[in-house]
Structures are given as C-alpha cells and as structure tokens.
C-alpha cells in the first residue's frame, strides 16, 4: 500500500515510474521498426556514440556558464549530434574504403565510445561540480531523473508516438518494401530520415535511465520477443511497447528502491527473461512448438512408411485374402531406425491396420485406401 502511495506522491519514485514507463513504450514501439529494418547494430552505435556528446555538452556548459547545471536538453543535444556523426562517419568509411557496413559501424562505435570514456576519466581528475552524475550515463540511473527530465521524455516520447500514429501507413509500407514505396510516390529518403530520427530519439531519451551500453537492448529485445507472438505488424508494435513498459517500469522501480543498483542491467535482465519465455513458449514460432511439430512430423513419416511397406507386401504376394504379414518381414525391408512394432500399434489405434495374431498384421480397408493415396500423391502423409 505504502509503495503504491509512493508512486503517486514520492517525488523520486513518481519521476522514475513515469519516465521509464514512457521510455519503455517509445523504445518498444520504435524498436519494432528498427528490428524489422535490421538496424539493431546501428542502434547500438548511436547509443554508445552518445557518450562523448553528453560529456562534451556538459563541459561546454560548464565553461560557458561557469556553473555545472546538468541541463538535460543540452546533454540530449550533444548526444544526438555525436550519435548522428558516428553513423555518418561509418557510412562514409564504408563508401571510401572496401570495409563492410558491420565492421565500419563497429569501428565507429569503438572510436566514439572510447572517446567518451577518455573524456570521463579526464573529468574525474578535475574539480568540476556535478561531474559524478555523468558516470550514471554508462549503466543508467533512473533515480536521478528530475521532474524536468521526465517532462523532456514525455514531450519527445509523445511527439514520436504521434508521428507513428500519423504516418503508420507510410512507415509500414516503407519498412516492408522501400523501392515499391518510392515508386508509389513516398520519398524513401524522407521516410528513412523520419524513421531513423524517431528511433534515435527513442534511444536518446532512454540514455539517462538505461545507460549507453545497454540501451540497444531496450530497442531490440521487446521487438524480438513480440515478433514471436503475432504475425500482424500493429499487434507486434503494441505487444513490443507493452513489454517495454513492463520491463522499463518494474526495472526502474526495483533499482530505485535498492541502493546502488544501476537501472540498465535490471531492465535488461527482465527483458531477457521475457525474451527467453517468448522464444521458448510462443505458440507458433516458439522453439517448443517447433520441437513438437517436428516430432509429430517425423512420427507421421514413420507411420506412412510402415503403412506403405505393408501395402507393398500385400501387392507383391497377391495377398487378396488379407492373411497379413509379420512385423519381422517388415523389419527386413529397410534398415528402419525406429520401432516398427510400435508404429504398427499406433497404426492399429488409428484403424489403418489390424493385428491378426501374434506378429501378423493386415491392412484394413481404410488403411488400404490411405496407402494408395500416399503412393499416388507422394507428398501426402498420414
């Protein structure tokens, strides 16, 4: 009860809850598009490369004003600039050299993140007030969210979600088939810019609470999990946003209520848990469903094989009187790697064969028809 009371009235907890909820929704929704566009790596580059931008913006603010107000709008601007710069440099690097896109992105990620860490360590040795907060951008700290931080998240989050709503049809078309979209008159450069900017905003507004290292998980993991549960884009975006909301909110609340627990890792662990559950248990694409399907398919192949063998024996021996054949004979027909007798028992349960006596089996009328149709169509199974 006290906890619920705190969510509404405790300053810190209310900020944490509100900020990370919106962040989860926005990251989840746009993460679906990043995931379908196969741009997860680009998201990681943007997040890591934001670090030097944040530190530089902080330093610039300090030297210009002489005081260190951690104005998050300024920090966000710095993060956005270096995030975009590193993406730009990596595509330039790809064009002027023969380096592939994943490698050039990896290089830029390392360069920019390295620069960020370097700048942070320089600041550590100087006496600049407020410097300690910058460390929080590495793993994230939801409890440092101020009221104005939350307002910024709210405004940018609402703007991007609104654009998603307004341009839903265009985003969907462009993500599925960009050249076709362009041929219909939807400028693909413009749509690319709109979508990439939205994804970048979703990343940047999460940096303070989740941190630059793990932010990409906030984008990719909910989408990957959501994809398991649906075959419809709108449903996928909603599920993904919901997963982001649940993980973001609970992760941030947990870390805010436990001392010295960084938010990023907590949220990511929750997300991974949801992801693993989705990969394993989702009804159509899940691993377990797949496994069951495979077992059933193999079973049907075995049963069909035995049924057809029995049919061949019958034809071969002109067995018009249906005296049947023994499982022993069936066993010599192929080097079956499975239990033929067990298959016969299952076939009998299906009413396709009948056990005469002991080891002797005979096709029923139904079994005869089935065997003929299997042989006729080749692909068909029991």
């Amino acid at each position: 009860m006290e906890f619920i009371h705190d969510i509404f009235f405790d300053y810190t907890i209310r900020n944490v809850a509100l900020g990370s909820s919106i962040l989860g929704i926005v990251a989840g929704a746009f993460g679906s598009f990043a995931f379908l566009r196969r741009e997860s790596l680009a998201g990681d580059v943007v997040a890591h490369s934001a670090l030097p931008g944040i530190v530089l913006a902080f330093l610039l603010g300090f030297f210009i004003t002489g005081s260190s107000s951690k104005n998050s709008l300024v920090l966000i601007l710095g993060a956005t600039i270096t995030g975009f710069l590193s993406m730009h440099f990596s595509s330039r690097l790809m064009n002027i050299s023969k380096i592939k896109s994943d490698s050039s992105m990896g290089i830029m990620l390392a360069v920019f993140f390295g620069l960020g860490i370097f700048l942070l360590s320089l600041i550590q040795r100087r006496n600049i007030p407020g410097k300690s907060g910058l460390q929080d951008y590495i793993f994230g700290s939801a409890s440092t969210l101020t009221h104005s931080d939350v307002n910024i998240i709210l405004i940018f989050g609402a703007l991007t979600l609104m654009s998603l709503f307004i341009f839903w049809k265009e985003f969907k078309l462009h993500t599925f088939d960009r050249t076709y979209a362009h041929s219909l008159g939807f400028n693909s450069k413009l749509l690319d810019t709109m979508m990439v900017s939205s994804i970048v905003i979703a990343i940047i507004i999460g940096l303070q609470s989740v941190g630059v290292i793990l932010m990409v998980a906030m984008i990719v993991t909910p989408a990957a999990a959501a994809r398991q549960w649906t075959n419809k884009l709108s449903t996928m975006v909603i599920i993904s946003a919901f997963i982001g909301l649940v993980a973001g909110l609970s992760g941030a609340l947990i870390s805010a209520s436990v001392q010295k627990l960084p938010t990023g890792p907590v949220i990511v662990l929750l997300l991974v848990l949801i992801f693993v559950i989705s990969i394993l248990f989702s009804p159509n694409r899940g691993l377990i469903a797949e496994l069951i399907k495979n077992i059933a398919r193999k079973q049907r192949i075995r049963l069909s094989l035995v049924l057809v063998d029995l049919y061949q024996l019958k034809i071969h021996h002109n067995d018009d009187y249906n005296v049947g054949h023994s499982a022993k004979v069936l066993l010599t027909m192929h080097e079956q790697k499975f239990n033929v007798r067990k298959s016969l028992i299952i076939l009998a349960e299906l009413g396709l064969v009948r056990n005469m006596n002991g080891d002797v089996w005979v096709l029923t009328d139904k079994g005869l028809k089935k065997a003929e149709s299997i042989l006729l169509t080749k692909g068909e199974l029991i």
Binding site: I166, K169, E170, F176, Y180, H182, S183, G185, N231, T235
Partner: protein, 256 residues
C-alpha cells in the same frame, strides 16, 4: 487525368534516349535508346548483371542516371506516376515481415491515397478484387511467410493490379515459380494487354522467351536488339549479348 482511357494513342508507353547509368565508375547501362509501344507485352532479356533491373529502376526514377531522357506515355515520370505499376523482384523483400496477403495487396492502394489518408471500404474492396483476379482468395488471410514462391509472386502482382495502372513494369516475375503459376500469370498479362495496357517484364529464361512476349529487348549494358519477337529472337543476337555465359549446345535447338 485520363487513366481510364484505354485507346492506344500514338505515344510510346516508354521512350528512352541516350540513357547511361553507373553505380560506381563502371557503367551498368551505356547509351540506351529504346522505344516501347503501348499495348504490347515486352520482354527484357539479358544475362545476369546485364542491367535489366537497373533499366526498370531508371524508368521508375529509382536510380539516378548520369545522362539521358526517359518519357512515359509522353510525359515525365512524376506526372504519370499513378498510371504506372511496379512489381519488384520477389527476393527484394523480407517475406518474414509480419503481414498477410491482404495487408500486402492493400499497399497497392496507398499510391492513390497519398500521404496521411487511410484506406477504407473502397480500398478494401479493390484489394479483394485483385486477390480474386490472381486466384488467391483462399489465401487472403495467410501470413506471407507461409506462401510458396508462386503465391508470393501472385500476391505481388495483385498489389500492382490494385493500382489500376496503364503500364506495368515487372522485375523477373517468373523467377523461381512453378509452371502452373507461370501460365496463370501469363494469362493475366494477356488480359491486361486486351485492355490496352502495356506489360514490360524482365525475363532471363530463354526457352519461354518467344512464347510469352510480343516484343523482346536484348540487353547487356547496351542494347543488342529490340523489336518484334520474330526479328530479335535470333541465334547471332542472343549469342552476342550473352557472350561466353551462354551455353550454346544446350539452347541451340530452341533458337532455330
């Protein structure tokens, strides 16, 4: 706009002059001149990497040429965009995208709708008609990842039919599909031709080339020949264009 006018006026469907395209330093299309009349089924043939897809994309302004002029139905592409339908290569998209056949065919209505406007009842009816026309009504609600190659292609063609265009540009519509689908797609092409529409399709299967098309353009960076099947479908021309990549002993008989 007179998009319902099916009478064939004298303007060519596509008129290309001095077109040169290069992605890097090496030209992919070199000084192309090509005129395709309205109301024909034109096949664009050539070996892999000949620039066939690039030619189609240039007509659609999807790639920027270094030089040259392209007119469609006598106009600039932007003016007649709504009278042109494009069917990209099937392999160009991710078929595991979360969408059904109906969702994909609906996309064909987006061009007429333009930005912001959302599809409604009319668009849904149009999409369903197109799905029926390609014989996919049973599969309308099926997830696209569960389609065969031929069904994927028919979905793409339905999406283009929705556009109610006058000129259809198709990139390898017969690649990797079964013979039955191939025939049914050809049937649709002939119906469209009967309505006065123009079909331009990239095709690199030499065996069926002469059966399917009224006209053929043989392309390999430059144009080797373009015209009526009986004038173009000749051993010397094909051999020259396909060069060493063309295995003559296997295909010789079909060219006599």
């Amino acid at each position: 706009m007179n998009s319902h006018q099916v009478t064939v006026n004298n303007l060519p469907a596509v008129e290309i002059n001095d077109l040169t395209v290069a992605y890097n330093e090496k030209p992919v299309l070199w000084d192309i001149d090509l005129s395709i009349p309205q109301g024909v089924i034109m096949g664009i043939a050539g070996p892999n990497g000949a620039g066939k897809s690039t030619l189609i994309k240039s007509i659609l302004k999807l790639v920027k040429p270094i030089a040259g002029k392209i007119k469609i139905l006598g106009e600039d592409y932007d003016k007649v965009r709504k009278r042109i339908a494009y069917v990209p290569q099937r392999s160009a998209v991710d078929w595991d995208f979360p969408a059904t056949v109906f969702d994909v065919v609906m996309m064909g209505t987006y061009g007429q709708l333009g930005w912001f406007r959302r599809p409604g009842k009319i668009q849904k009816a149009l999409a369903f008609d197109a799905i029926q026309r390609v014989g996919m009504e049973e599969y309308a609600d099926r997830q696209i990842s569960q389609l065969s190659g031929g069904q994927q292609q028919r979905t793409f063609i339905a999406r283009a039919l929705v556009q109610n265009a006058d000129v259809f540009l198709l990139d390898e519509p017969f690649a990797g599909i079964d013979a039955k689908t191939e025939k049914s797609i050809m049937q649709i092409f002939r119906e469209l031709k009967g309505e006065g529409k123009t079909i331009i399709a990239v095709h690199h299967e030499l065996i069926t080339l002469s059966d399917y098309f009224d006209m053929i353009t043989v392309l390999n960076i430059k144009i080797y020949a373009s015209g009526k099947v009986e004038d173009v479908y000749k051993k010397e021309i094909i051999y020259e264009a396909y060069g060493g990549h063309f295995n003559f002993s296997q295909n010789e008989s079909i060219l006599d």
